[in-house]
C-alpha cells in the first residue's frame, strides 16, 4: 500500500467475510497497440496488471476506476490466492490496500459497481516498468525505460477501458498521487468521466513535495549499489530506498499523530543506552520497520519513475497554459474534493486551489476538509469519514 495507515483489526475482512470481495486473482492484458509517451519515446509492448471487482452491467454503465497512490498497486481489495515474488509475504497477511472501502455493501459497493484498478506504467507490480525485461535486449530496462508521466497513466487507463469495452466511467477515484491521476482522467477524457473523487491531492504537488521527492531520489541514486540503475543482477540500493521511504513516511504523518502513536517512548526500555547507532526511540523503530518491510517489495528504480511523474504533473500547465480556472472548466464530471486538516504533504490550501478554480469556472463541486490528526495518511485511516463521503457521492 502507498502509505501504511494503521487499519484496526476489526476493519480487516477475511476472504469468507460477506463484505469481502473474496479471493481475487490479478489479471494481465497486453495492449493491442504500442503507446507513445508524453516525454517522447514509444513503448511497443505494454503489459498491464489489473484487478476488477463486481460485474459490468450489460449497458456497461457502472464502471468505477480506482487510481492507486505512489507505491500502491492494482490489488485494491480482497485476498490474492497466489501471491508471488516480493509480494508473497505482504499479501499473505494483508488484503488489498483499500479493502475497507471496496466490497459488497461497502462504500464502493461491488454489488452495484464494476470496480477497476490497474498498476501504472513504471511501477513494479506487474505492469511494465524499469524492472521488466526489455524485449530488445532480454535484460531489465533499468533507467533505459522511458520517463512516464501522469498523462501517460491516464492514457494507459483509457486503453485498458477500451480492451474491457467500457465507454463511460461512473467515477474515477484516487487519493494522493492517485488523486492526481483521477483528475487527469477527468481532464483528458471529460466526456467519459462522469464522476471524480479526489482525496488528499491537488493539481500538482507543493514545492515541499518536490523537495521531499528530490531527497528520496538522492538517497537512492547515491547508494553505492545503485550503479546507474543496473543493479538487478547484484545487490540493490536498498539502503537508499529505505532512507527515501523513512523520509516519505514522515511526510505521511503529522507531529500530532507521531506524539499520539509514539511520543518520546524508548523502544523496549525505560532508560536510554546512549548509543549513536542503535535504535532508541519507538519513533525510530517504527520508521525502520516501515522501511524494512517496504524495501522487500519495491524496486528502487520504480521509486525514481513514480516520484518524477508526480513532480512533473501540473494540470494547469497541461490544460490551461498555467491557468487553473481554464483547466477546471474542462471538467464535466460531478466532482468531490476531500482534504484532511493535518495533511502537510497535500495540504488543504492546495486542494482548495482546485476547488476555487472550479468555482471560477462555474463547475459544480463538493469540498470537505475532514478534521483529522493523521496527516496525509488520513485518506486511508479516516475510514468512517471517507466511507461516508464516498458512499454519499456514489449514491446519487
Amino acid at each position: 500500500m502507498s502509505v501504511d495507515g494503521e487499519i484496526s483489526s476489526k476493519d480487516i475482512h477475511f476472504a469468507d467475510h460477506p463484505n469481502s470481495v473474496g479471493m481475487i486473482t490479478p489479471q494481465k492484458v497486453v495492449l493491442p497497440d504500442p503507446m507513445a509517451l508524453e516525454a517522447g519515446g514509444v513503448l511497443d509492448r505494454v503489459e498491464m496488471e489489473f484487478e476488477t471487482y463486481g460485474r459490468l452491467t450489460p449497458a456497461k454503465d457502472n464502471a468505477v476506476l480506482i487510481c492507486h497512490a505512489l507505491t500502491g498497486d492494482a490489488h485494491v481489495a480482497g485476498w490474492d490466492p497466489n501471491p508471488v515474488g516480493e509480494l508473497k509475504q505482504f499479501r499473505k497477511t494483508k488484503p488489498g490496500w483499500w479493502d475497507q472501502m471496496v466490497g459488497p455493501g461497502k462504500a464502493i459497493d461491488t454489488n452495484r459497481f464494476f470496480v477497476i484498478c490497474s498498476n501504472v506504467l513504471g511501477s513494479c507490480y506487474g505492469t511494465v516498468g524499469p524492472s521488466s525485461i526489455n524485449p530488445a535486449t532480454g535484460r531489465p530496462w533499468g533507467l533505459s525505460f522511458p520517463v512516464v508521466t501522469v498523462s501517460d497513466w491516464a492514457n494507459q487507463q483509457i486503453e485498458l477501458l477500451k480492451t474491457l469495452g467500457i465507454e463511460r466511467l461512473r467515477a474515477a477515484i484516487g487519493g494522493s498521487m492517485g488523486g492526481q491521476m483521477a483528475l487527469e482522467m477527468a481532464l483528458a477524457r471529460p466526456e467519459i468521466t462522469m464522476g471524480l473523487i479526489i482525496l488528499s491531492a491537488g493539481h500538482r504537488v507543493t514545492n515541499q513535495g518536490l523537495a521531499f521527492n528530490a531527497v528520496g531520489r538522492h538517497a537512492i541514486i547515491h547508494d553505492s549499489n545503485f550503479r546507474n540503475g543496473e543493479y538487478y543482477e547484484g545487490p540493490k540500493p536498498l539502503s537508499g530506498l529505505a532512507a527515501a521511504r523513512m523520509m516519505a513516511q514522515i511526510t505521511y504523518l503529522s507531529e500530532e499523530s507521531m506524539v499520539h502513536k509514539f511520543g518520546r517512548r524508548l523502544r523496549g526500555k525505560d532508560t536510554p543506552d546512549f548509543t549513536l547507532t542503535g535504535i532508541e526511540f519507538e519513533m525510530e523503530s517504527y520508521l525502520n520497520h516501515q522501511a524494512e518491510s517496504f524495501v522487500k517489495r519495491y524496486d528502487p528504480n520504480s521509486y525514481l519513475y513514480m516520484t518524477r511523474a508526480m513532480d512533473y504533473y501540473d494540470a494547469a500547465l497541461i490544460w490551461g497554459q498555467g491557468d487553473l480556472a481554464v483547466t477546471a472548466g474542462r471538467i464535466k464530471a460531478k466532482t468531490m474534493v476531500v482534504s484532511f486538516s493535518s495533511d502537510w504533504l497535500y495540504p488543504p490550501e492546495l486542494c482548495r486551489q482546485l476547488v476555487a478554480a472550479m468555482c471560477q469556472a462555474r463547475r459544480p463541486v463538493s469540498y470537505v476538509n475532514v478534521p483529522s490528526r493523521y496527516g496525509h495518511d488520513a485518506f486511508l485511516v479516516e475510514t468512517d469519514a471517507v466511507r461516508r463521503l464516498i458512499g454519499s457521492f456514489l449514491k446519487n
Binding site: M336, V355, Q360, V365, S366, Y367, N369, S392, N396
Partner: protein
C-alpha cells in the same frame, strides 16, 4: 455606629444604608418615574387596534421562502445557495427546475445531509470561498435566513451582488409587532417560533428589521425588485409599510447598474 457600605445599590436603597462612594448617592435611574405604567397604557391601546392574527404555524413557516423561490427562478438558471443548510431547496431546484446549482454550508453535519441529496456543497465558511466566484457568474444567489447570523453581513452582501445578477435575501423581521410588544412589555428579548432562542444561544447576532434593511438598500443604491413577507401563515408581496406585520421577509436585490452597463 456607621453601617458597612453595601455592594449593591438596590440593597443600599432598600436598607437606606450609606451607598459606597463609587456609586451615585442619588437614584440616577429616576426609579420614581413609573414609565412602565405609561408603556403599559399606551400598548394596551395599540394592541386593541391591531389585527389579532395568530403567528404562523411551524408548518406554514417551514421553508416558506422556497415556494416563492421555486416559482420565481427560471429553469436552467445558474444558482448559488449560501448557507444551504441540509440542501432541501437546492436539491429541489436541481431536480425540479434543472438549475446549475452550487451550495455552500459551514456546518459539516448539514453539508453532509445536502450531499446525500446530491447537492454540490462546499463545506466552508462563506468568507473563505465567496471571493473565488466570478462577477455575474450566477443568475441568482440565495441567502436564506442566514444574514442575521453573519459576522460580516455587508461583505457577504457586496459579494452576493457582485457574483449574482439577482440576490435573494430572507431574514426574520425583528420589526414585527409581536416582537416589539414582547420586548417593550416583558422587557425580555423576544422568543417566538421564528426566533426560538435565548440570548445565550441565539445564532442571530445581527438584529435587523425590514425598515433597517430598506434603509441600507436605499443608501447603497441597491434596487429591491421584489419583496415577499410571511404573516400569519400567508405569503404576500410586501412594501416597507409591512414592517409591523411581516414575521419574515424575502427580498430580491439587484446591484445598481454601472455606467458601462446602461
Amino acid at each position: 455606629m456607621t453601617k458597612k457600605p453595601h455592594d449593591s445599590i438596590d440593597q443600599a436603597i432598600l436598607e437606606k444604608a450609606p451607598v459606597p462612594d463609587y456609586l451615585a448617592a442619588e437614584d440616577p435611574f429616576s426609579r420614581k418615574l413609573t414609565c412602565v405604567d405609561l408603556i403599559d397604557q399606551g400598548l394596551l391601546e395599540l394592541l386593541s387596534s391591531l389585527p389579532a392574527d395568530p403567528p404562523s404555524s411551524n408548518e406554514a413557516r417551514h421553508r416558506w421562502q422556497d415556494r416563492v423561490i421555486l416559482n420565481e427562478i427560471p429553469p436552467g438558471s445558474y444558482v448559488l445557495d449560501l448557507g444551504c443548510g441540509r440542501g432541501e431547496l437546492m436539491s429541489r431546484l436541481i431536480n425540479e427546475m434543472n438549475v446549475h446549482g452550487q451550495a455552500v454550508e459551514v456546518d459539516p453535519e448539514a453539508a453532509m445531509a445536502a450531499m446525500d441529496l446530491g447537492v454540490p456543497v462546499l463545506n466552508m465558511d462563506l468568507s473563505e470561498i465567496l471571493g473565488d466566484f466570478v462577477d455575474d457568474g450566477f443568475d441568482y444567489v440565495i441567502l436564506e435566513s442566514t444574514i442575521q447570523t453573519l459576522k460580516e453581513p455587508l461583505r457577504v452582501l457586496d459579494e452576493m451582488l457582485r457574483v449574482g445578477k439577482k440576490s435573494l435575501v430572507s431574514f426574520p423581521n425583528f420589526g414585527h409587532w409581536r416582537l416589539r410588544l414582547e420586548l417593550s412589555t416583558k422587557g425580555r428579548m423576544p422568543v417566538s417560533p421564528s426566533l426560538p432562542y435565548m440570548w445565550y444561544n441565539t445564532p442571530n447576532i445581527r438584529v435587523l428589521t425590514l425598515s433597517d434593511f430598506m434603509d441600507w438598500a436605499r443608501e447603497n443604491k441597491v434596487n429591491i425588485s421584489a419583496a415577499y413577507g410571511l404573516n400569519s401563515g400567508r405569503i404576500a408581496p410586501i412594501t416597507e409599510k409591512d414592517n409591523l406585520l411581516a414575521e419574515e421577509v424575502l427580498l430580491f436585490l439587484e446591484r445598481p447598474k454601472k455606467v458601462s452597463e446602461l
